[in-house]
Assembly symmetry: C2
Homo-oligomer: 580 residues x 2
């Protein structure tokens, strides 16, 4: 029975780093050749990194990409077929293309058919879809090409290639991670093999790019859909495997064990953080440690990602901070072995209050004073990072992001927001897992058990202002991630007035999210390019529960009504409460 030796280069390219990415392809191709592979496959758009966004509109970028591709072709080993992804400019059209190189030349190009334009994807902004199947012959075998989305739907270029005689199918992907995505991927790929009845090579990219993490999960499947070999998640890998063109006996199960949900998510957070920091040329990280669980988990991830010698913890106590939370911050820093500084904010806050007194005359204390403390802390952390050449990581979670429960220019001041897409209840799960892996209370026990507090006024508790976190996180999942309606969420058994208030607050807080730093997408729908909402927006998602009121004939009835409506619901708008 005929067989072919294949290799998959699950590499970590950097957007825009044409030379570096070409270098990756070259190194992995040489290794594949040394392992006697006939064919090596790389991810979608590996030469540019994915997504290059509007770099694809710069003619200079496209010219440089094509030049790099031609240079690379001349320098690759000649007797292995290298399949890699790159943009292809042809006249005034641009394609998302799989390129085949051997004997120092580009021999074949296949243009992606199905261009995703939903969620985080904008491929119609850049690309024209291809219309012809891609089959090339190499060492007596016909190989059919597909790019990412092409295999996520039936009746794409895969079955067409097989009809044209393909003995083997290849897919080049840049498929971003969300929790559980790899299971979905397995399901989809099996469907394609069942449709096509030939062996299947799936090569996905790995690494972090701004808010996206690619988890890899590259694999080789036989013509019945059995996995013959697969790469580990979240790391670079060269996978080499002999593939029989017709399966004989059932193959041995692959050696890679699946990760638990918590371990998978922690890996994604670590990789996303490491790549954002390193790829942007940073080393040193500053984190404000409050003694709370969000900053504790963020610090643990930062140490995992960058090493304890590159992480600095800073506690910024005021008179509202309990001795216990301060001690927990210090204990965490000690447990992690990171540098730790205490920078009290009282004297600065006093100077602000004194300066503002004439302008605040006769007005009682409110969220203004809470925001102020948070902004003093943000300014101090930024000063440390500016002076020492570092990056501030922010520590807000998805529950806070959704409710606007943070201070703009305060606790949201920083370059990267590690757990931005992690709801609070999941923050607890991940923290417990961190401690289990450490084998001791790396994150102090009290941090895990104390009721969450912002400590911006006496006896403040998150739950005085927010719904209970388990309820809030249920609403976030239903509304933000699953796009459920007010009615559907109430039908799940949650109190109608609470759901209404929560959804309205979520809707009204878009302006705050828009100025917050990027963070890593972990759920099926993260805030940001995954969920694009207008800031100016008078629709509130609970409106469905009542019929639209009758319009008054003539006059300004409808309009005036709308105004009243808007004011009552957007009342808290842009009054940047820290914790309201």
């Amino acid at each position: 029975m005929k067989a072919v030796r294949v290799a998959l280069g699950q590499v970590n390219p950097t957007v825009g780093d044409l030379i570096g990415n070409a270098g990756l392809v070259q190194r992995f191709s040489l290794k594949a050749r040394e392992a006697n592979a006939d064919l090596v496959v790389f991810p979608e758009m590996v030469l540019t990194g994915y997504p290059p966004e509007d770099l694809l509109l710069e003619p200079t970028f496209l010219v440089a990409t094509e030049k790099t591709l031609q240079t690379l072709a001349r320098q690759l080993p000649k007797d292995i077929a290298v399949v890699l992804g790159a943009p292809e400019k042809k006249g005034d059209r641009l394609y998302n293309t799989a390129v085949v190189i051997h004997h120092h030349r580009v021999q074949h190009r296949f243009r992606k058919w199905f261009l995703p334009n939903y969620g985080v994807f904008d491929e119609h902004r850049y690309f024209t879809p291809g219309t012809t199947p891609g089959v090339f012959r190499w060492k007596g075998i016909a190989i059919g090409l597909t790019v990412c989305e092409d295999v996520w739907k039936p009746q794409g270029p895969a079955p067409v290639a097989v009809k044209k005689g393909a003995d083997l199918l290849v897919n080049l992907s840049a498929s971003p991670y969300h929790a559980g995505k790899n299971d979905t991927r397995t399901h989809v790929l099996k469907q394609r093999v069942r449709e096509c009845h030939v062996p299947f090579l799936y090569c996905n990219t790995v690494g972090g790019q701004d808010d996206l993490v690619y988890d890899g999960g590259s694999r080789v499947m036989d013509d019945r859909g059995h996995v013959l070999a697969q790469s580990p998640l979240f790391q670079e890998d060269l996978l080499v495997c002999d593939v029989p063109l017709k399966s004989t006996t059932p193959p041995v199960a692959p050696a890679v064990l699946p990760l638990t949900r918590e371990d998978e998510i922690l890996s994604a957070l670590t990789l996303g953080t490491r790549d954002y920091v390193i790829k942007n040329g940073f080393k040193k990280i500053f984190i404000g440690l409050s003694g709370g669980i969000d900053s504790a988990l963020t610090a643990c991830i930062a140490v995992d990602a960058l090493g304890k010698e590159n992480v600095v913890g800073v506690t910024l106590p005021s008179r509202f901070n309990a001795r216990e939370t301060q001690q927990d911050a210090a204990r965490l820093a000690k447990n992690l072995g990171i540098a730790f500084h205490s920078v009290p904010i009282e004297e600065i806050v006093r100077a602000f209050n004194k300066t503002l007194r004439p302008l605040f005359k006769g007005l009682s204390a409110d969220v203004t004073e809470e925001n102020l403390q948070s902004r003093v802390r943000g300014t101090l952390l930024m000063a440390l990072a500016n002076k020492h050449g570092g990056l501030v990581l922010t520590t807000g979670n998805k529950s806070e992001m959704s409710m606007g429960y943070f201070t703009l220019y305060g606790d949201s001041a920083g370059g990267f927001s590690v757990i931005k897409d992690i709801p609070k209840t999941l923050v607890y799960d991940l923290s417990r897992r961190v401690n289990t892996r450490a084998g001791f209370s790396l994150i102090p026990k009290d941090t895990l058990t104390r009721p969450p507090t912002a400590e911006l006024r006496p006896n403040q508790k998150d739950q005085d202002t927010l719904p209970p976190y388990n309820v809030l996180d249920t609403i976030i999942q239903s509304y933000v991630e699953e796009n459920k309606s007010f009615k559907e969420i109430v039908a799940e058994g949650l109190p109608s007035s609470l759901v209404q208030k929560t959804m309205n607050t979520m809707d009204a807080m878009e302006h705050k999210r828009r100025q917050a730093p990027l963070g890593i997408k972990i759920t099926p729908r993260a805030f940001g390019r995954d969920r694009r909402m207008p800031i100016t927006n008078r629709f509130r998602s609970d409106q469905q529960k009542k019929a639209p009121p009758p319009l008054k004939k003539g006059g300004q009835g409808g309009f005036a009504l709308a105004l009243v409506f808007a004011f009552s619901l957007t009342f808290p708008y842009l009054v940047s409460f820290p914790r309201v």
Copy 2:
């Protein structure tokens, strides 16, 4: 000769305000009926406002929109045909639709063919294109429908409708403003009439929506392309006009005079600011007045937009501020008749320096101390706005945005960035025009003549750090707006090393722009959703000038090279300089 009386409702809807927008349609339709019009046309997606972005993915929103449409239909005068834009959900597809209502019912729907998915547009994310022409008969006339982009290209639904017998064409638009856009629009519409040889009704929306301003420019053209009547730019208008189906004598020239470039842009800035503030439920505005030209122009626009009684000027002097600039700030406030406060920052800065001293030991002063002053000012302005329930307007211009010449969480702290898309040289032109219109030096003379300075250290001038503004603004126009390459820009006669340094800095500052507030799009390509660049991005646009260096065979050659390259160019990354 047969004629028809038509009306165009150039209205200002608010995104998501279904009831308010329906009320607008109702009021304008009644007025049109009172004026004996047979037909009244409203803009694209007038019922939802445009763009509703991901609201279009919420089933609740689409259901509420359709319900509002049905309610509206029952309440409109029955014997006038009302044409308006709304989304149309059909099965699992969504269309961008023109709806025709008369006799209390929806009588006809036409689905937009050409869906823009470039620049600020994402219509492929939401809509399926229509494929059939839209012609409806009303009072013996056949009327052909098109929506916005449908008439920006030849061979769309317009000529097809005419082939099917249309006597008259209608276009519903939500076409955003940039400087000079109305001339382009005139050119395009004349081309369409020349293609179709029937009278043409063009109704565009007006008003501000986040970063977009719609300028209106609705008009009625006869079958030879002569303008019979047109609405003024930048304001709501009901345009009523008798249209002969065949032209006889050349019509009288329309009464609307074109605006000068400066007046047009000032109108756009005023409308965009007013609508952002009002539609989000605000009234009071706070602006930091430095005595410089950017804050002076911003304050003049704010007063025009919202009235002097709603604008508060605040000067925040340090020991680096000259007496002259302080006086200019006070003089401007007096000239505008706005409230004015002086809030010295020295004592707060001293408290910060004292607190930070132990951590800054042995390190000399640098941009950290400059950023600090800017952040103290941002925090004070936000405290005032939080306490008094107002919105802070930021005052940075496009030249500063492009070079990252601002402090994150400092001078960029605020809700809306009025002149964000105005290059510095244009800031001067607009300011001079403001003074001419006022008939005196509303903006003090010295503000216009003094060399720009951030006053964050002794004797600081913008031009110590930035290229001369006329050169910088030329590079911005060529690179950002016209997408020219490094080579092309140098070929225009600018020094190669300056262009290189400037473009590299622009590329490296994406992370700062991403956390800055929204501002009004004025140029053909603004930063933001109009220009989507990755933050993590090792490509530098001057790379084209050299061929890619040869890749080393084996080893980490290529990759290491890329790293060196990246570090040297991204060195300033995220060290948030105020003015570097």
